[in-house]
Amino acid sequence: MSAGGELSAFVMLLLVGFLPNEIWRVLGLVLARGLDEDSEIVVWSRAVATAILAGVIAKLILFSSGGLATIPLPVRAGAAACGFLAFLAVKRSVFAGVLVGEAALLLGGFLFAH
């Protein structure tokens, strides 16, 4: 990238990447002022944040992009299910869940990747 291109890439990072994302953190900071951790709006916000996070997880697995998209959907969904079952089976261990999920994905991807 040229020097001019480099500079504009950094300006773009601020205008297109930083500001549109950061606005939500600042709004949260303003709204959270004076709320305590047991107030109903904080409990509700936590439920909303958890539901959004769940939506992000489901979308990343079911509607993948990049290298993950080359692994068939049934393999991705099956690997996530295997990981979750391992998490439940091994004393709610996050590490066991991630390890088994990844192993299932690699195995399935190796056998069925297109």
């Binding site: 890439a9 950094f10 773009m12 990072l13 205008l15 297109v16 990447g17 930083f18 549109p20 994302n21 950061e22 939500w24 953190r25 709004l27 949260g28 900071l29 959270a32 709320l35 305590d36 951790e37 904080v42 409990v43 509700w44 916000s45 936590r46 439920a47 909303v48 944040a49 958890t50 539901a51 959004i52 996070l53 769940a54 939506g55 992000v56 997880i57 489901a58 979308k59 697995i61 509607f63 993948s64 990049g66 290298g67 993950l68 998209a69 080359t70 692994i71 690997a79 990981g83 979750f84 998490f87 709610r92 996050v94 590490f95 869940g97 991630v98 999920g101 990844e102 991807g109 990747a113």
Partner: protein, 246 residues
């Protein structure tokens, strides 16, 4: 070490709390998750022709992997900046309820709003999950330093492995690139489930997992925002109903 410890005043220092936070970041499963995720994003930035320093700065300023993936692929493919900014902003909506739920844990003990600017900026999925899990067990006065240490630990991990991915980019086989990208949803799924000890959290997780994809296939605009508002409110309402009936 013991000589050092005895020389220190007995009251907890914020440097010690900061280091404890940073240490817990490196020891958590999210260290591996962030390492894998940012190797993937670093490789992406390389493929789309951004510089390594641009990638590092984007990790520090944007500090949200979905937004960074959108930013890099949108700008890299020449999408109009306004369109890219809207997509980044939509992906960031989740940060709003996260900050609202997190900051009350850090408040009190003469904390001013500007003390909370840094934790607000540091708010991201991995840091939020771990903060909500760990902070309640820590005395109020020590939480802010611990949380900042945790966040700096995570951010340093992301920046470091972003560089690694950037320079590894050419040699990464497709299947392994896919496996790295799979780390994010897999770890978020099980760690959110681990954190969901209360019925309301379990309901919100289960409803979001079903509702999110349903809204996508029915082409609802702003699908994640509606997943959050509808799914979160449903979980909240069901929980209130359950408590009222007891």
């Amino acid at each position: 070490m013991s000589a050092l410890n005895s020389a220190q005043p007995p009251k907890p220092s914020s440097a010690a709390d900061f280091l404890a936070g940073a240490r817990s970041a490196i020891q958590s499963v999210f260290f591996l998750v962030l390492a894998g995720t940012y190797i993937g994003i670093g490789a992406l930035a390389h493929d789309f022709g951004f510089s390594a320093w641009w990638m590092a700065l984007s990790s520090m300023l944007v500090w949200a992997s979905p937004a960074q993936v959108i930013l890099i692929s949108a700008l890299g493919t020449g999408a109009p900046p306004v369109e890219a900014a809207v997509a980044v902003s939509l992906s960031g909506i989740r940060l709003f309820p996260m900050v609202v739920a997190l900051l009350p844990l850090l408040r009190g003990h003469g904390r001013r709003t500007r003390d909370l600017l840094l934790p607000a900026h540091f708010t991201s999925i991995s840091m939020w999950i771990e903060s909500l899990r760990l902070l309640p067990a820590i005395p109020h006065a020590r939480r802010l330093a611990f949380c900042n240490g945790l966040s700096v630990g995570y951010m340093s991990t992301a920046v470091t492995f972003g560089f690694a991915g950037y320079y590894l980019a050419a040699g990464l086989p497709t299947l392994f690139a896919g496996a790295l990208l799979f780390l994010t949803p897999m770890s978020f799924l099980v760690s959110t489930a681990r954190n969901s000890r209360l019925m309301i959290d379990r309901l919100a997780l289960a409803i979001g997992l079903v509702l999110g994809p349903l809204l996508v296939v029915s082409h609802v605009e702003l699908d994640l925002m509606w997943t959050g508002i509808a799914g979160g409110s449903l979980a909240y309402g069901a929980n209130r109903l359950r408590e009222a009936m007891r």
